[in-house]
């Protein structure tokens, strides 16, 4: 028996376990970073999965944790797949050989914009992040990811709001986890928009798990 066959057996075992203890989810696989959770990307509506933070099912998750082990049929699962159902959305971040399948539970849907500007020669007038409004894109910005479920959790102390209004609160630091979709590269200073809240990317780490991003929330 070789590693591949053992892996096959492990995933088959996961599949049997998921049937016994799991719940039903819809499985989405998107080739792009634009609206991954749409019917066209849905490859199953009867995908069984069970999530845990310990194999003995004796521990609950806690604040600040987004990573769960996933018991599911790994033979039909890929890193980057979304599982949607039971009131939650998760994406698969790790399927290493013989190791538990890892997933991240989402708590927000984000659109990521890349502010840019004209760089033609000569005068281009005023330049800045001209934010637009809820329906229009900021001037000269491009959407690089749209309506992508992500995990965004508080991550340490923030910085003082430079606006310094009497009722200002600090700009909090956040840890964003999202899958690596459509080969889209997230850069420092990209803008993450969740509803009307804006976050700017301070660091961008891409690993086999997908993107781990440190961002700060910016408010007036």
């Amino acid at each position: 028996m070789d590693g591949i066959k053992i892996q096959e057996k492990v995933y088959k075992g996961y599949a049997i376990a998921a049937r016994k203890i799991g719940l039903i989810y819809s499985q989405y696989r998107s080739a792009t970073a634009i609206q991954p959770i749409v019917v066209g990307n849905r490859i199953s509506t009867t995908f069984y999965a069970s999530f845990n933070v310990s194999w003995d099912y004796m521990k609950s998750s806690k604040y600040g944790n987004a990573v769960f082990q996933c018991v599911a049929d790994g033979r039909v699962l890929q890193v980057g797949d979304y599982l949607v159902g039971q009131g939650k959305t998760s994406f698969i971040i790790g399927m290493e050989n013989l190791l538990p399948i890892l997933s991240v539970e989402c708590n927000a849907i984000a659109t990521i914009q890349r502010p840019t500007q004209l760089t033609t020669k000569g005068s281009v007038g005023y330049v800045g992040y001209v934010a637009g409004n809820s329906t229009t894109l900021p001037t000269n910005s491009t959407v690089i990811m749209q309506d992508v479920p992500i995990s965004i959790l508080e991550n340490g102390r923030g910085m003082a709001n430079p606006n310094k209004l009497p009722m200002d609160s600090e700009w909090g630091r956040w840890l964003v986890l999202m899958p690596y979709l459509g080969s889209v590269q997230i850069k420092v200073a990209d803008v993450i928009k969740i509803g009307t809240d804006l976050y700017t990317v301070d660091s961008n780490e891409l690993t086999d798990f997908g993107w781990r991003i440190r961002a700060k929330r910016v408010t007036v």
Binding site: R114, P115, T116, Q117, L118, T119, T120, K121, G122, S123, V124, G125, Y126, V127, G128, Y129, N140, K187, V188, A189, D190
Partner: protein
């Protein structure tokens, strides 16, 4: 109306003319494309510009400014529209000519008394003549010609829109011209020209025809970001500029009437 933002626009225009002395269709003084902007460059775009070997010049006011105290508060003419109507006097006739555009008024000063008709939408040269003649005693209009009897003095003027401005404050403010260049050579080529040109420049006009004064007070370079291909040079200018308010008004049609009132008072 002049203020801080007008100074930025004027500096933008000056910088562009200095680094592109022959226009943007010809090479810049540094031989590479240069983007000039007011505000601050967007990081991703600046990165791309530097990567492409091009330069960016950003213009922004510093936080250092002070008001300059005493100044004379008086209205000055900023601009006067060019009349498109004519009112030619020959003996005791006035011929209305030209083209009708609004706002304009035709004034006839007959025997030292002024009569003015303001053209309205739909007026033609003939209706202007008719309406003006209706205001003047002993006047009749045929077509575009008004004939007046019992005239011993007759002259006309066209009243047009004008804008006047008043200086209400004067500021000394420092502005940054920041050169973001991909190499030391490009930075030097741009900085050399900008320092020389702005040092030579004593004053420059603002959009409302007021004048700003100019001094180069600092010229710094920094290589701290050279690992990111960013070679910066910062020129600091001291600009003294007026804060003005403007008012829409009209040109004066008949000074003589006013002067009579000044001499004798209104009846």
């Amino acid at each position: 109306m002049a203020d801080l933002s007008d100074v930025m626009v004027a500096l933008d225009s000056l910088v562009t003319s200095y680094v592109y002395p022959n226009g943007t269709s010809q090479p810049s003084v540094a031989g590479v494309d240069i983007t000039i902007l007011q505000g601050w460059p967007i990081p991703a775009a600046l990165d791309t510009a530097l990567d492409n070997g091009t330069a960016v010049i950003s213009i922004y006011p510093t936080m250092v400014s002070r008001e300059m105290g005493m100044f004379l508060r008086e209205w000055q003419i900023s601009s006067v529209a060019v009349p498109t109507l004519t009112a030619a006097v020959v003996n005791n006739t006035i011929t209305i000519g030209g083209t009708v555009t609004l706002p304009q008024a035709v004034m006839a000063v007959v025997n030292n008394i002024g009569y003015s008709y303001r053209a309205v939408l739909g007026d033609t040269l003939a209706t202007i003549a008719t309406n003006l003649a209706a205001l003047i005693p002993n006047a009749t209009a045929v077509g575009t010609v008004i004939t007046i009897t019992s005239v011993h003095t007759l002259r006309t003027s066209i009243i047009v829109a004008a804008v006047r401005s008043m200086e209400v404050n004067r500021m000394d403010q420092f502005f940054w011209l920041i050169i973001h260049a991909p190499t030391n050579d490009i930075r030097n080529a741009i900085g050399r020209v900008l320092n020389a040109q702005f040092s030579y420049l004593i004053s420059f006009p603002l959009a409302d025809n007021t004048v700003a004064m100019n001094w180069v007070v600092k010229d710094d370079i920094t290589d701290q970001l050279e690992e990111t291909r960013l070679y910066k040079r910062t020129l600091q200018l001291k600009i003294q500029y007026p804060i003005t308010i403007t008012q829409n008004t009209n040109t004066l049609g008949d000074v003589y009437v006013n002067s009579l009132e000044i001499q004798h008072g209104p009846s």
